[in-house]
Amino acid sequence: MNPAVQYFKNIWDALYTVSLGMIITLKYWLKEPPITIEYPDRLKKGPLLLSGNSLEEIVSDRFRGFLAVDFSTCIGCLQCMLTCPIDIIAIQTEKKDDVRFITRFDINQSKCMYCGLCVEVCPTNAIVHSKRFEGACYDIRELCIRHVETPAPVAKRPSKGEAEST
């Protein structure tokens, strides 16, 4: 193309495309509402988060948050501990009068990678990912969560059928 024509075409192109973009941003500026979810203090509805706010808006059902253990069902099989690729679950059991007690069930949440492998192998669904994700703290030691304070007796091993259903 003739350089002179090209020269004016360049100007035209620049003006045209720039205004095209500007119109879109203008549309956003004036019309589109923000989609920001104002965590933590301006949320609405639903069950409460630790900070006293609603959870439902931001976290889905399957969300893999902090691990939670239900000692009424944990049978102390150590599967979770063995499966965890980085050994962050520490379980100790003690046998006292034929009853096994879980004396220690520590989960190092600061190191966990929230992969869900331990949850998958648990035969009784005792260990699950809760929806909790808030754990910011000033001292990293707070993130080692000791689930057992007083030794808890292990639950009965469920029957075969129940275990299958997990």
């Binding site: 193309m1 090209q6 075409k9 495309t17």
Partner: protein
């Protein structure tokens, strides 16, 4: 008393004064804990290699030369342009116009010279290396046409 231009000096003084006062205040109320590491030059987290000097592109230099000439030209044309209206009203508009016109056109020739001789280009070598043709592209066509998978 100062004439109106006195304000310029006052502005100068006040501008300096404001910054100076602020810096004194900052000295007093901001923490100050230098250490050798903090005082190293920032270079993207790396310990700086060599002096903090950059041998910048000589193109900038050409631009500056070009600029200075145009700047001078601008300055000389200011007084003439201011008078243009008066001359126009006095009926001498053509004279002023021709003068401005000549002056600007002569300078314009300089610009064209620089343009023609590619003093305004930066990237000759690279252009050549990448076999870049200044192919013509119709942006508008693309926009108005399909923007999905392209057909040739």
């Amino acid at each position: 008393m100062l004439n109106p231009y006195g304000n310029i000096f006052v502005f100068f003084a006040v501008g300096f004064g404001v910054v100076f006062a602020t810096m004194v205040v900052v000295k007093i109320i901001a923490p100050h804990r230098p250490n050798p590491e903090k005082l190293t030059s920032y270079e993207c987290g790396e310990k700086p290699i060599g002096p903090g000097w950059i041998n910048f592109n000589a193109r900038f230099y050409l631009i500056a030369i070009l600029f200075i000439i145009f700047d001078v030209e601008l300055i000389l044309v200011f007084p003439v342009i201011v008078n243009f209206r008066d001359y126009l009203l006095a009926g001498n508009g053509l004279l002023a116009f021709i003068e401005i016109f000549l002056f600007i056109v002569i300078l314009f020739l300089g610009l064209i010279f620089a343009w023609e001789h590619k003093y305004l280009e930066w990237l000759w070598a690279i252009r050549k290396r990448l076999r870049v043709d200044t192919g013509v592209v119709r942006i508008k066509d693309v926009i108005e046409g399909k923007s999905g998978v392209e057909d040739e």
